[in-house]
């Protein structure tokens, strides 16, 4: 036991060294899980990562004891030299683990998610280390994963960072003690969280780079086009699945007449071409609807949006108040910029030619929400129009497309927020956006 415990401490040290130098999330999974397996003498292990955009857990990688027997020898031979094993792991290629049977199974079992699945998952996902039995897991898909890799009971180890779950580990082996897993809860959790943050930052940078190219300059146009094309492609694809399927059946009834055969083959080729086309369109339009959230400084975002609309009517004065507690939000920066620009434009256009218009922006934190109020004194909206303002293509303006506010609504919805409008003392309009903080 004392020998074991000594190994445990040494491995914990190697893990710390490893995590300090790791540069890649996937490599980290493998290297850290290997140390984990050695430290606890585990048979099997799987790591799940929490996806913030999807709000659910995805299985990432899994390992079995037999895959790491050679690595265990390397550890045994070199454990007297501290840091050696961590460096060895850093240089290790993960290729062979990626293609193990266990991993391919895990990757083929995609776990989709939504409210229902989240509520099922929450029955065993907690902040506490615990032992779980496969029968106790109500979710059939997670059960399937465990069955696939023959795990009948497992230890559940949550991975935490800043008090939030970033993932969890399921592992099995003999003679495991719950307490010994404790140190790993935050160690691995924080590392994963960091990698995700870095990745998100890189993503937003790529997105912004893309956005500044002239090709994607007119966001509203692209948004409209993207949405319309996606709808068309979807309808087309659905119809084509039926048409091609029935056509394949029809072919069996067509006689050997040469002309009939030729027509059949032309129709078939064209149908397939159309079908592949719908797949392509979908790939393209999908990119446009991607929401990439980062921590965004709201004051800066508001300022930038004001700069963008200033040209419309330079007589308008903006006042902006951002409360200290609400200065940051976790949002898609360019989408939210679109929200502000559309709302500002709306108010500015309502002022028409008036000289001394005012737009007030107040951002505060209220409970778990960031509340953004944008208010003008431009007369408000007529009662009859209230129910329509968020509908696409509804407009009271000569030049309007009627999409501005419906885009606002779509974007806020994608952020799991709400947006509402009300008239203030028949003087002006107030828009209130609530976003989860």
């Amino acid at each position: 036991m004392s020998k074991k415990s000594g190994d445990f401490d040494l491995l914990l040290y190697e893990l710390a060294v490893l995590l300090e130098y790791e540069k890649d999330l996937r490599h980290t999974y493998f290297a850290a899980l290997i140390i984990f397996m050695l430290a606890f003498n585990l048979d099997k292990i799987i790591i799940f990562k929490y996806s913030r955009s999807k709000k659910c857990f995805d299985p990432k990688v899994g390992l079995k004891k037999e895959y790491i027997s050679e690595i265990k020898d390397i550890w045994e031979k070199n454990k007297s030299e501290t840091g050696y094993f961590a460096r060895w792991l850093l240089d290790m290629s993960c290729e062979k683990f990626n293609h193990t049977e266990c991993n391919e199974k895990i990757q083929s079992l995609n776990l989709p998610c939504n409210e229902a699945s989240r509520s099922i998952a929450s029955t065993f996902i907690t902040d506490e280390v615990k032992k779980i039995n496969i029968q106790d897991i109500k979710n059939r898909r997670i059960q399937n994963i465990l069955k696939e890799i023959e795990m009948t009971s497992a230890f559940y180890i949550p991975l935490l960072s800043r008090g939030k779950l970033t993932g969890f580990i399921l592992c099995s082996g003999d003679s495991l003690e719950k307490e010994r897993f404790e140190p790993f809860k935050s160690l691995l959790g924080i590392v994963i969280d960091n990698f995700i943050n870095i990745k998100e930052r890189d993503n937003i940078k790529t997105y912004l780079d893309k956005e500044s190219s002239p090709y994607v300059n007119n966001q509203e146009q692209i948004y409209k086009l993207g949405k319309a094309t996606a709808t068309v492609a979807h309808e087309m694809k659905n119809a084509l699945v039926g048409i091609i399927g029935l056509f394949n059946k029809l072919k069996k009834h067509i006689d050997k007449n040469e002309k009939a055969q030729r027509y059949t083959s032309v129709i078939e080729d064209e149908l397939n071409k159309l079908y592949n086309f719908t797949l392509d369109i979908n790939k393209y339009s999908k990119d446009l609807s991607v929401v990439q959230k980062t921590r965004v400084n709201l004051q800066e975002l508001i300022n930038k949006s004001i700069d963008m609309v200033e040209g419309i009517n330079s007589n308008i004065v903006f006042s902006v108040y951002v409360d200290e507690k609400a200065k940051e939000a976790y949002v898609d920066k360019s989408h939210m910029e679109r929200v502000f620009i559309n709302l500002f434009k709306n108010s500015m256009e309502a002022y028409g030619d008036k000289k001394d218009g005012k737009i007030t922006v107040v951002i505060v934190k209220s409970g778990n929400n960031i509340v953004i109020k944008i208010r003008d004194d431009a007369g408000g909206i007529k009662k009859d129009n209230f129910n329509n303002i968020l509908k696409p293509f509804f407009t009271t303006k000569k030049q309007g497309t009627g999409l501005g506010l419906s885009i606002v609504r779509d974007i806020i919805k994608k952020h799991n927020g709400t947006v509402e409008f009300k008239n203030i003392d028949s003087k002006g309009l107030e828009c209130t956006i609530r976003l989860p903080a």
Binding site: C113, N114, R140, H234, N238, V241, G242, N248, Y275
Partner: protein
């Protein structure tokens, strides 16, 4: 008579196609073009398996899924939709399988056979 399959899809061509294919495989097939009809028929006909489209006018496939699983958690439900990327958005955790619609019916047929144990 073989086991009973209910096809729920707003696309006429797809309902006809699935009906014929599964009847050829000796299943009994019933179909519905919307969610409301599906729930009504589900109670009356008690199918062994439901193939459910997600994007339908009116009640969505996901609403139907929830209701069906509430009424009868052991009835198999296969979600079928146009694109795989919806996969992440949906509660298909509660469904038994997720199929991307395609003119190639083999994956769907295999799934049905697998679930109905034949």
């Amino acid at each position: 008579m073989g086991k009973k399959i209910m096809v729920v899809d707003d696309e006429d061509a797809i309902r006809l196609l699935y009906r014929e294919e599964f009847e050829d495989m000796n299943y009994e097939v019933i179909d519905c073009e919307n969610g409301e009809c599906a729930l009504e028929m589900f109670e009356k006909e008690k199918p062994d398996l439901v193939i459910l489209d997600i994007a339908m006018p009116g009640m969505s496939g996901l609403d139907v899924l929830g209701k069906i699983k509430e009424m009868s958690p052991n009835t198999y439900v296969i979600m079928s939709t146009a694109y795989s990327h919806y996969k992440q958005d949906f509660y298909t955790w509660v469904a038994d399988a997720y199929i991307v619609k395609s003119p190639d019916l083999e994956p769907l047929k295999d799934k049905v056979k697998e679930l109905l144990g034949e």
